[in-house]
């Protein structure tokens, strides 16, 4: 089963807290998950001040600066993994170094019903 692990963190704290992970640690963890065969994709994101939101309404595109919603914690990156069940997914999510300063939301991926 596929799970998306969404990493949220206060951007001000993500790289400045004493617990903040450095890039090599994040890279090493991603490598380890890759080696275990559970990795489908994982990427860190640029800060939300680079975000742009697009909406299509009545055939018209509207483009606005910033994320969809202003929140205390911002989306900082993600892991898309393959896991046998939620427990295994939670184990992977708990090991993501950024979980020490932020939080990781684990969501099962819905299979599209094409029948």
């Amino acid at each position: 089963m596929k799970y998306l692990c969404l990493i949220y963190s206060d951007e001000q704290l993500l790289h400045t807290s004493p617990d903040s992970p450095k890039d090599p640690e994040c890279f090493a963890y991603a490598e380890a998950i890759q080696a275990s065969g559970r990795m489908l994709a994982a990427e860190p994101l640029q800060p939300v001040n680079t975000a742009t939101t697009v909406r299509m309404r009545n055939g018209k595109v509207s483009i606005t600066d910033g994320p969809f919603a202003e929140t205390k914690e911002q989306l900082a990156g993600f892991y898309l993994i393959e896991a046998s069940d939620l427990n295994e997914a939670l184990q992977v999510a708990g090991g993501i170094p950024a979980a020490r300063v932020g939080s990781v939301e684990v969501r099962p991926v819905r299979e599209l019903n094409l029948a």
């Binding site: 089963m1 046998s84 069940d85 939620l86 427990n87 939670l90 684990v106 099962p108 029948a115």
Partner: protein, 408 residues
Amino acid sequence: MTLNGQVEAVYRNESRRVLATLIRVLGDFDLAEEALHEAFFVAVQRWPEDGVPDNPRAWLVSTGRFKAIDRLRRQARFTPFLQEQADTLEAAQWSDEDVEDDRLRLIFTCCHPALAPDAQAALTLREICDLSTEAIAHAFLVTPTTIAQRIVRAKGKIREAKIPYQVPSRAELPERLDSVLRVIYLVFNEGYSASTGTDLTREDLTAEAIRLGRLLVELLPEPEVMGLLALMLLHESRRSARTSASGELVLLDAQDRGLWDTSLMAEGCAWVEQVLTTRRFGPYCLQAAIAAVHAEAPSAEQTDWRQIVGLYDVLLRAMPSPVVELNRAVAVAMEQGPTAGLTLVDSILLRGELQDYHLAHSARGEFCRQLGRIEEARAAYEKALSLTQQTPEKRFLERRLTELPPRQ
């Protein structure tokens, strides 16, 4: 015994084990529940002629499994993917020897920390204790619809997020067991001291929690499991002494110890002794040990308060919490006098903790009253009164207030 009586007895003794196994075999809570009912329906029809099978549990699981496959096939005419599910189930090897005790898996799944805490309790009471949604709703003072929604949502999450139906591994066990013990203790406390309402105890819930505790000790005899069972038994042993005939709250030091249930107490104390020998005790066991010291004392004055303070010191290291600190302060006051107790309670309140906790203010009121600081006692009791919703607690505080000498 009449045959109906026999079927009823089998239902009482076996239905939860049969359900737990059907959930494992069928991989779905709702399908398993329907299968369970169909299996018993067949039993009521067949057993009068065929007699009760040698192994009713295996018979029921096997019958339930066939009924579930049948049901999926019938529904498959409208929903094709169910056909695949039915085929997979039918192809899976099955023999009566596969009937193991799956109740532990059921408990760990119902108490999975990925489920909302109130849903964990509702699901546990529904699936493991077989309480109706109406009974659970009554116990938690919410509507049956609310309970039904919590259960449906929890089952949906188990299915969609794929919460596994398994006993956690050794590495995960301590944390996951905490979650199970918390649910059982929550059920117990909900019954023991209703958070609102007029009844101070709701016996059904305490009885269910103790039943769960006994079951868990049988399935997983870990020290903290025994500790929790001991703690519940020792609290329960004092239940009838805790309220007077008119429904007033009676504190430990004023309780008629002749009303304490000695057999529950002896059982609780025996569990405490057994856990203490393992040397792997945690917060539940330490709280039970404290309750056991009280149980063994002939009166409040003759209680070994020094030992109780010592146990609180250990508990505070194992589980730092201002509530434990408050309880320790009360024990210190019993050992060394109200001045010592008041100093400790004031230091907690000064740190800004427990300011909205009625028992902190009511303890402060007690110490001030004993020290003759009447106006301070009055203010503390009034503060406590404004913070509690429990009718017996309110009446207790009101009584304390009227007993104080009138304002000068």
